[in-house]
């Protein structure tokens, strides 16, 4: 059996919004193995992004444990988490989140600024990542000069440039047209199959989930057992 890279136990996230007590995630238990391509599906507000944010240590759980690549995230401070995230996790956002004043190459270079690589090496790595996502001819373009699909591919290049173990993607095709969405999903599948990246994809698009090797559903904050879908879900 392959290594477990993500393991959660009784993971719960609660918060107060406008005086209402909201349970965003309740006792979620999931194991993701190295090389998996897992799609987390569910309706809007079901808690799938919350689970992804907790796994990326972008948020702290109310209770429960998360172990990612052998590190127990609960015990790490902010600085350690920032370093850990830079080294092991690539994150892809729905709205790309590129820095508008930096070129494609500079955007991709950003995470490498936190490594010990020299400027020339960083640029070389960033250019290689952009070539890998098919944007080798767009290095000097600013985000506003790119299409949505190209922007998302730059974002993926930025996520993989540090050669992380895990790629966490939050609705990466949510803002794209069908053709661009397909290109992005194919790219993620390629990174999973050919480069061995573990991918966790949050989506509510069944088509997107077809690219995954495993699909887990979340409904009303509960991670449903493997193979179970929410009621009324096609």
């Amino acid at each position: 059996m392959s290594d477990v890279v993500i393991k959660t136990r009784n993971l719960t996230k609660e918060y107060i919004r406008d005086e209402f007590h909201v349970v965003a995630l309740k006792d979620a238990e999931i194991e993701v193995h190295r090389g998996d391509f897992v799609a987390l599906m569910g309706p809007s507000g079901s808690g799938k992004s919350t689970l992804l944010h907790l796994v990326a240590a972008m948020d702290r759980p109310t209770s429960g444990e998360i172990e990612v690549l052998g590190s127990k995230l609960n015990g790490l401070n902010d600085g350690a988490i920032a370093r850990w995230r830079n080294r092991h996790v690539g994150f892809v956002f729905q709205s790309f989140n590129l820095i508008p004043v930096l070129t494609a190459l500079e955007n991709v270079e950003l995470p490498l600024k936190l490594t010990h690589l020299k400027k020339g090496e960083r640029m070389q790595h960033a250019a290689t990542a952009l070539k890998l996502v098919g944007l080798g001819d767009r290095l000097g373009h600013f985000p506003r000069q790119l299409s949505g699909g190209q922007e998302q591919r730059v974002a993926i290049a930025r996520a993989i440039v540090t050669d992380p173990d895990i790629l966490l993607c939050d609705e990466p095709t949510g803002n794209l047209d069908a053709k661009s969405a397909q290109e992005v999903l194919s790219l993620l599948a390629k990174l999973n199959k050919e480069h061995g990246k573990t991918v966790v994809l949050v989506t509510h698009d069944p088509h997107a989930a077809h690219y995954a090797s495993k699909v887990r559903y979340i409904d009303k904050g509960e991670l449903l057992p493997d193979g179970t879908k929410p009621e009324g879900w096609n």
């Binding site: 944010h53 994150f91 930096l102 995470p111």
Partner: protein, 388 residues
């Protein structure tokens, strides 16, 4: 490693209008401060460069200036043969009894008139001021109502030109020459014959001061000690340089006033910078969240926004220096609180002053940027990412 500087520079360039307006606010504040400093610096250069190191100025004890000093002729006669006083080629002591008074002259700048020092001297007084060289005309003739004016006086007062006539004392005085000295304070005076002036102003026996030349530095100090401790004479002795240096205080009021206005303006500029930076933090909330997700620490985020504020203030500082540069070298006059007369000097925007202006601007940037930078660093990742 830090967030790249190009990120800050380009963000400043993207919001051009806000950047320029905030930088202009800082620039005006810096310009006000530098204008006040350039005036004080000009005065300092004028006074500190004046006075011969071996000259000793004597005034009556208790008088801070020649103008308020009553110096009896008899005292001068008692001291002029003291040991340590240098002698001229004829073997006469280089000691000059002098009378200083002020007259009013009108200029374009001050049509209602400004006070100008008139110094009555003997030929020894001219000899002892070997730095004063005629640029046109000649020295006054003893016993005549003739005046030789300093170059600043000739420039600033149209009536004091060569060949002109000045009315003071008991009649009209002919301007017969113009002198110039590297010791700038001397150029704001005019020189006349001591006895003619003393007669006109009815001060034959009680004059103002004496200027003596010591043979060397050791003798100078011995002379000062000797004269100070001679209770019979009742004189205050100090080096001529020391006397002029004291007059730099004439610029203190302008310096304090300028600094006060600049500090008040600086508070406003700090708020302007703060406002700009808060707006930048709010607008770039998503970018802050993204940078945190990429692995940049809270400290990196804080430093990045602080650096951006400092860059803004550097731009403001440079603009402020550019605004004040045209003042460099402009000749102006200021009332000297010691001599009660106007002293002409050049405003000086020295590199040191520019540096002070830049440091002042950086302080404004740092104070203005600190709180927004803190707020950027304290943002929770998810909260930052959700803000539009």
């Amino acid at each position: 490693m830090a967030i790249p500087l190009s990120y800050n520079v380009r963000n400043l360039a993207v919001r051009k209008t806000t950047t320029v307006m905030t930088a202009l606010g800082i620039a005006l504040t810096v310009a006000v401060l530098l204008a006040a400093f350039s005036l004080v610096e000009g005065l300092r250069t004028t006074f500190e460069g004046s006075g011969h190191p071996l000259n000793v100025l004597l005034t009556r004890k208790g008088s801070d200036s020649e103008l308020s000093s009553n110096f009896p002729r008899s005292v001068f006669n008692d001291l002029k043969f003291k040991q340590g006083i240098a002698k001229n080629a004829n073997g006469e002591p280089l000691a000059s009894l002098e009378m200083v008074t002020v007259i009013m002259l009108s200029s374009e700048e001050f049509p209602e008139g400004a006070n100008v020092n008139v110094r009555g001297v003997t030929p020894t007084g001219i000899e002892i001021r070997e730095d004063c060289r005629l640029t046109s005309g000649r020295w006054f003739t003893p016993g005549r109502r003739e005046v030789t004016v300093g170059s600043s006086v000739a420039k600033r007062y149209p009536t004091a030109h060569l060949g002109g006539k000045l009315k003071f004392g008991r009649g009209e005085w002919d301007v017969v020459g113009v002198y110039d000295s590297v010791q700038a304070a001397r150029n704001s005076e005019m020189m006349v014959d001591l006895n003619q002036a003393a007669g006109d102003f009815e001060r034959s026996e009680v004059l103002s001061s004496a200027l003596i030349r010591a043979t060397d530095e050791v003798a100078r100090q011995a002379l000062i000690n000797d004269l100070e401790f001679d209770t019979r004479l009742n004189v205050k002795a100090r080096t001529e340089k020391e006397y002029y240096a004291l007059q730099t205080s004439s610029g203190d009021l302008v310096k304090y006033l300028g600094t006060f206005v600049a500090v008040i303006m600086a508070v406003g500029s700090c708020f302007a910078a703060m406002n700009t930076m808060y707006a930048a933090v709010a607008r770039r909330s998503k970018e802050i969240g993204t940078l945190r997700v990429l692995g940049f620490s809270k400290v990196s985020i804080m430093l990045s926004f602080l650096i951006e504020s400092l860059l803004l203030s550097i731009l403001g500082g440079l603009l402020g220096i550019l605004l004040v540069m045209p003042l460099n070298g402009i000749t102006t006059g200021i009332g000297n609180f010691v001599t009660f007369s106007e002293v002409a000097f050049k405003l000086r925007v020295s590199p040191e002053i520019m540096m002070r202006g830049m440091i002042f601007a950086l302080f404004m940037g740092a104070f203005g940027g600190l709180l927004p930078a803190f707020s950027a660093a304290r943002k929770q990742i998810l909260t930052a990412l959700r803000q539009i």
